[in-house]
Symmetry: C2
Subunit: 380 residues, 2 copies
């Protein structure tokens, strides 16, 4: 077991927790939001700017990186941290989700997933063993077990079959991860709870993973179309059975109110492309809800996007300017709005951490929803 | 005459000069390269990063800004400096060049140029008076006289006719600029020498502009397809007749060796989209010539693009990473290579300034060409 990875829970409020995950690459304050650096870059952002928004850790995508530039090439070049100029912790997913959503001509067997690259049609195979190898080659600090992303909707029988295979793959991931390498010594493996929207299956998955001594656990297979109510319901009946002392990561989530509700239910870590992807389409997150910067009402507005935000976009520019950039398809618009959205997400996490630490979470959540209900500021 | 604009030539070497242009927005070290901020943004760059590359002044395009977001809107929002978050000097062109190269259904008369927007087909008119008004609304620190961009190639008769109209327009620009406004008091007007590739016409244009007491003079109508030899020939016979004590600006130039040759011939200021536009297409400028980052030979190369360059791209990333970004069409690739290219241009200007100040220009130029002749570093 790694001596370089630990989780100290420093405060709780109801089911919510706050604390510090220690890794060989530095500390992660929880609840944490991990910006997504798909292809070894958080799109439209320099890594120092991502850090400046408050991010302690990035997520990298095994599927994208194995295809281009390849894990072997990144390894030859000194690993993912050096390659992308990010010295702090990196979590890599296992490739299980993207291979289902992006790859072509997939064939799933007990062995793993055979597929063709969406980039050039080249043939590849992802197995638990290969996923562990790739994540080791990348130098990932938090390695995710290889799982099958159960389609949604799926029947209980389909979901059970998929979950049981993911549990077998989790055991194979564990065995492959613990190869005696320096990488395994220093870094962590997280298991992934599956079971769709079926309480019995989620319970079964949690129990199966308890037999595999991972350093943390993710809840997978949510935010795939089931809706927030059902997602929260799954968390409500799943979380109480998960080990209390280990980090809990809700994969691919989510919208700001998804995150707030999941923190209330005991989740410690999140990742989502929403803030960065929305930033590139002109959609801004603010405490008063989302704002479309392409909307004509901004063209003469001298006010900042969010006067309480300290990011570059809000400190240095008017809504009129941001609107001008998006109307002209200027790259600076994508850069500034991505930076703003990531800042909003990190500020939200900082607020949640502080609220849990001071046991003011209920009040924080009430104010969060009240402010959103106001809607965007009135036109001048 | 403005008290807020002056040019102190602090050193010469042959025909070359170095010095400081003082404006109400700060100093410009010459020879100076002005990055092009066409639509109120240097594409893919934050203004603080542009400043960090060493730029003292930006260029803004009257044609683009008058169409979107409009000069009136920028004026209502506090002027171009505030709008785009650039506190230092801005030079604006007159719109004369872009209206010829971009606008639709142009009709040129003695009054000015009627045209339709390339963005939405809306109808507009640019005259010397309107160009001065727009540049005043923007808050430009160096205003360019409105001129006709003579097509190339053109006969001597066509060129003469065009140049003579530009001289009449220069006088109208002067009269319109000096409207007693605070803007005219604080800022400068530059005239533009035309006359194509005909010595007699260039001489005539220089003399005509001497009658108009501008704070500086540009050489226009070059770098339009005549080639470097002919461009240098025009400078050779034009420059000796231009006023020695005023800034001289070679518009739209150019490639690094164009700039070096023009500095040798006494030019003080340059602008060109080349470093920023090339940065977005994967073309990098280095002391050893241009390098195409999309070339497959970089994919495994751990070395920086240019080991002697201090920009972000060269300090923090390998050629392999830059190549990866361009192969994946990642926005960070455009950002980093634009920053590198602008840094290269500013470093070149700093080298030229130092060489002129220390009267080592001949040696600097020799070394500049020797290094380029080496070509890019060998593959590993």
């Amino acid at each position: 077991m790694t001596k370089h990875f630990s989780y100290d829970i420093t405060g709780t409020d109801g089911n919510a927790r706050t604390g510090i995950i220690k890794t060989c690459r530095g500390e992660i304050r929880t609840p944490a939001f991990m910006p997504v650096g798909t292809a070894a870059t958080v799109k439209a952002m320099k890594p120092e700017t991502v850090r400046h928004t408050g991010a302690d850790i990035l997520l990298g995508n095994t599927y994208h990186l194995m295809l281009r530039p390849t894990a072997e090439r990144i390894n030859r070049l000194g690993g993912l941290h050096k390659f992308m100029n990010w010295e702090r912790p990196i979590l890599t997913d296992s490739g299980g989700f993207q291979v289902m959503s992006l790859a072509k001509l997939r064939k799933i067997t007990e062995e793993g997933v055979a597929f063709q690259s969406h980039i050039d049609g080249s043939k590849h195979m992802l197995t638990p063993e290969r996923s562990m190898e790739i994540q080791r080659l990348l130098g990932s600090n938090i390695v995710m077990a290889f799982d099958e992303c159960t389609p949604f909707p799926a029947t209980e029988a389909e979901t059970e079959k998929s979950m049981l295979m993911s549990m077998r793959w989790a055991k194979r991931s564990y065995d492959a991860f613990h190869d005696g390498s320096d990488h395994a010594e220093k870094n962590a493996l997280f298991g992934i709870v599956q079971g769709g929207v079926f309480e019995k299956l989620r319970r079964h998955s949690v129990d199966a993973l308890k037999d595999i001594d991972c350093q943390g656990y993710a809840v997978g297979g949510l935010a795939v179309g089931e809706g927030q109510d059902m997602m929260f319901e799954v968390l409500d009946y799943t979380m109480p059975h998960m080990l209390q002392q280990k980090p809990r990561y809700l994969m691919g989530v989510g919208k700001p109110d998804d995150i707030v509700g999941a923190v209330e239910r005991g989740i410690d870590m999140f990742d989502c492309v929403l803030p960065s992807r929305s930033g590139r389409t002109g959609q801004a997150f603010t405490p008063r809800g989302t704002v479309n910067m392409k909307n004509a009402r901004h063209t003469d507005d001298p006010r900042p996007l969010d006067e309480d935000c300290s990011c570059s976009a809000c400190s240095n520019y008017s809504r009129a300017y941001l609107s001008h950039l998006f109307r002209g398809n200027e790259l600076l618009g994508l850069m500034l709005l991505t930076e703003h959205n990531l800042t909003y997400y990190q500020d939200l996490m900082a607020g949640l951490r502080d609220a849990v630490a001071t046991q003011n979470l209920a009040q924080f959540v009430k104010y969060f929803h009240q402010k959103r209900a106001l809607g965007d500021i009135e036109p001048l």
